[in-house]
Symmetry: C2
Subunit: 549 residues, 2 copies
């Protein structure tokens, strides 16, 4: 495979034309990005096939899921298929923190990457503003004693798109009589806001508004629930989000169209781009490539049980991304050594891939394994994975998407097209909604994670009873679990066996429409590392951003 | 005068063409707004004349300064002059609070007003993000004990574009060892952020970066200053602000071009749109109409002594906006009665207009008085003001900008053009920079406010000594004073005499380049009223925002 230079970026109106999106359905944001009107959804075109890209349990550097998704879409384009991407927008906080940018890599990127990593079209900022307007309205009602709201039982916090650990736990309203009512609170990162989850699951502005109305913000003195509608600002929140609800269109290195919209955290929320962006890719292309955050146990499960169930989506193919270095990690190699050749470790690490393949098969969809290739991979190591997949009768394709773009994913694209040509299987969730919450959680824990059982801490039990009493028992479950292991212990690599999953708390996301089951220590507001990535970002003499991606 | 219906809004590229702004200097944000490249500043065109619009001491509802500025620009257009506006962007917080929208009114508005009042092109959000990145970096250094920074002497707070009194005084970093270092802090509204002031005074991205570097964030253990540069994220802050520094182009009801850019508070900061937007209006039009927040004593003085001094600007004409109802208020009429006819009260209230005229004359510029007309004004009342102005040999024009748009401001426009045709007088600041800070403050207090003297509280004295010791003694002064009175007591209407101005504290805005002298109770973070404007804002069935403006 040889590296092909990236094609010059085209005006976004031309990219839109590839998808038959008319100019009057576009709101340009500069020349290189645009918001797309929802009218496009009723184009009348036969919907495309949905390709879900997920991964095995990743190394801290990630498996290159986004890069592979982009490479795959470019590969589909190269074999003459009309393809579009539906991806999450990176959260700006982590861009300045440990992670840096998140727009793919090498010859498989979405552009303009610097803008996508920073402000983009302002959606995250709008979500932050809508979230904080509700918070301000809550404290304002407390201040004027205008609503029966127990200041010690307010669930709604504030949000910022920033990694800022000092805001995790704060006391607000200090300074005496005219400065508000003192109480404990905190900030979550915007990606963890329920408004983000709501925007990503909404079908329309009206649906968005109804979901905002349903947010459970806290409890009255008698313990009865207080919903956001009572605060009187959900109309204004909807007004703030009016443009943010429109999907954003950009293009890849090779000019393949990409809808980038929404970015809920994958550990705490459902972790995939908006329903509207996915629908738009399906409405305008024959193959819509989307990804689900982190590994399949976490992101894939939530994509299928939350997003697909809510929106009536049904993927045709599941692509599982694996890397040789992650398999070595799961085979017991310490992180600093995973670039060293070790085919035996790869062999041992296949248990992790096997676990995710088993999980994916529960949903009754064809699976293709993509090996995201690195320069340190050897033919022998890659062969180990190929043989394993052959043994399970699963198509497997090594893809050089970073180094060769779409050219490096032609074989992968062909295998995906072949798998997508099977007769469509019906959508099959992992659990029905009328099971008890405990049973739903146990089903996910046993089937997806391989747990022997689930233990519920007292607080979680109490909250589940409360949720049922309030009529939220029929909601699906959004698992909040570490991405670093199939279990809730981030140190357990490979395919842990016989462990108990510990559910320590439950949250009611009534607007988004799920119950969050918290396991282990899940961070809703990341911190900055000692040397944050933000210290490497700058603007050069020519006015160009450096050090970002 | 008859009401002319607003012309249909034109595509923003056509509006740009009126100013000879080439398409490749535009970054469209939708069809109705665009960011404009700074290359436009070096067009080589002869710079236009700068018209500064300010006002007498306003009623709580304001004097319609923005509406008059817009009407005046439309009037100039109607008499065949090439005119452009340079205005502030409204702060979103107050839009949901007491104030509602701030984009003019009637037939003198800037459009798309709903978008301008809310997200617009995201500049305020970018400023918020840049501000909070610096805050996160500060607390991160405290957490890692990586910089000698005294946690009890950190000056930099956080910012949000929200009216939220509960965030004024908070404790951050609670929750134990891994959650940061507990300390007192707070949030200011974004309009009060020094990053906002810096963006508005910057001449280029490089100048912006250098100003960010110079921000005084706090003190080390030995009392020595710690500047933002030491925190290592000013490059990333510049990257965040890279697009925000570009002025935004929109149009008025009658399609007159308007640059809307930046919005520092006028009570706490310098209160006018960006230097770059003003320069752009001057570079592309023959008449650039701009406004300075609140009354002339506050906004006008700061426009001239801070912005014009820093940027080398020199207004040709000063327009003072007065309303009959405000004059009645200054004549002693209680607020609920100011719509009732009372020519004698108008006569008594002229002392306030006289004070501002005297102040404006100190700068050696021709002045035109604009009476912003309301339906309740009588001919007799208007005649009182006209006679007074005639006596002082000052042109005066009643303008019906709300009801009749540019047609209602033709006489005003003609008077402004006549005044602007006088030979240009040199720029004359109120004080030289090498005076002591005390003397500068006394000069402003006596000449602009009519104070008998100034008293400095001990804290202010100490801070002034500290500022001088650190080399900030040469900076000009940004007065933070109530807008409701010429004095520092908001209850004193008219032209208060013999009062002492009380300076209670001093702040060093080293990046913006001024010392803030705080008098009275100045709010950096407004609160919401019992029934906030946000409760009236909604989105209707057609997806249009209602209740906003």
């Amino acid at each position: 495979m040889t590296a092909t230079p990236p094609a010059g970026q085209r005006p976004i109106s031309e990219v839109a034309r590839d998808l038959d999106i008319a100019p009057d359905h576009l709101e340009p944001y500069g020349r290189d990005k645009a918001k797309v009107h929802l009218d496009v959804l009723s184009s009348g075109r036969k919907p495309g096939k949905l390709i879900l890209v997920s991964a095995i349990t990743p190394t801290p550097a990630g498996e290159g899921k986004t890069t592979t998704s982009i490479g795959l879409a470019q590969g589909l384009h190269r074999i003459g298929k009309r393809a579009a991407l539906a991806l999450r927008q990176p959260s700006m906080g982590p861009v300045f923190g440990r992670k840096g940018g998140a727009t793919g890599g090498g010859l498989s990127k979405v552009e303009p990457s610097n803008k996508i990593n920073l402000q983009f079209t302002g959606d995250f900022h709008a979500i932050t503003a809508a979230h904080n307007l509700l918070a301000a309205a809550i404290d304002n009602r407390l201040y004027f004693r205008d609503l029966d709201l127990d200041p010690t039982r307010i669930l709604w916090k504030r949000a910022l798109d920033m990694n800022d650990r000092s805001l995790r736990r704060i006391v607000v309203g200090l300074g005496g009589h005219s400065q508000g009512v003192p109480r404990e609170s905190g900030f979550d990162i915007t990606a963890a806001s329920e408004v983000m989850a709501i925007l990503c699951l909404s079908e329309s502005l009206r649906d968005l508004r109804e979901r905002l109305d349903r947010i459970l913000v806290g409890y009255a003195g008698d313990g009865s629930p207080v919903l956001a509608k009572r605060l009187g600002v959900t109309g204004a929140m909807t007004a703030i989000l009016k443009e943010a609800i429109l999907p954003n269109l950009v293009q890849t290195t090779e000019s393949t169209p990409a809808f980038i919209h929404g970015g809920p955290f994958a550990n705490i929320a459902h972790g995939c781009n908006s329903v509207l962006a996915t629908r738009m890719a399906l409405a305008t292309a024959d193959y819509a490539v989307t990804e689900a955050g982190f590994a399949f146990d976490l992101g894939g499960e939530k994509f299928l049980d939350l997003k697909c169930r809510s929106a009536g989506l049904n993927p045709a193919v599941i692509v599982l991304v694996a890397t040789i270095r992650a398999l070595k990690m799961h085979g017991g190699v310490p992180l600093p050594d995973i670039t060293k050749t070790d085919a035996a470790a790869v062999e041992r690490g296949l248990v992790n891939l096997a676990a995710h393949l088993d999980s994916a098969e529960h949903f009754g969809k064809p699976v293709v394994v993509a090996i995201n290739q690195f320069g340190t991979d050897t033919a022998e190591e890659v062969g180990v994975v190929e043989n394993f997949c052959k043994g399970r009768n699963i198509p497997c394709s090594p893809a050089n998407v970073f180094g060769a773009g779409g050219e490096g994913a032609i074989d992968l694209a062909e295998k995906v097209v072949a798998a997508a040509s099977y007769p469509e299987t019906p959508y099959k969730p992992l659990y029905p909604l009328d099971w008890s919450a405990e049973r739903k959680i146990e089903q996910i824990a046993k089937v997806m994670y391989g747990a022997a059982g689930v233990s519920f801490q007292q607080m979680a039990e109490q909250k589940l009873r409360k949720a049922e009493k309030l009529g939220y028992g029929q909601l699906p479950i959004c698992m909040a679990k570490t991405q670093d292991s199939l279990s809730d212990d981030p140190k357990r690599r490979g395919r842990p066996q016989g462990f108990t999953l510990h559910v320590r708390d439950i949250e009611i996301a009534a607007g988004a429409g799920f119950l969050v089951a918290l396991t282990g220590e899940i961070m809703r507001m990341p911190g900055l590392p000692l040397r944050p990535a933000g210290e490497r970002i700058d603007v050069d003499e020519a006015g160009e951003i450096t050090g970002l991606s």
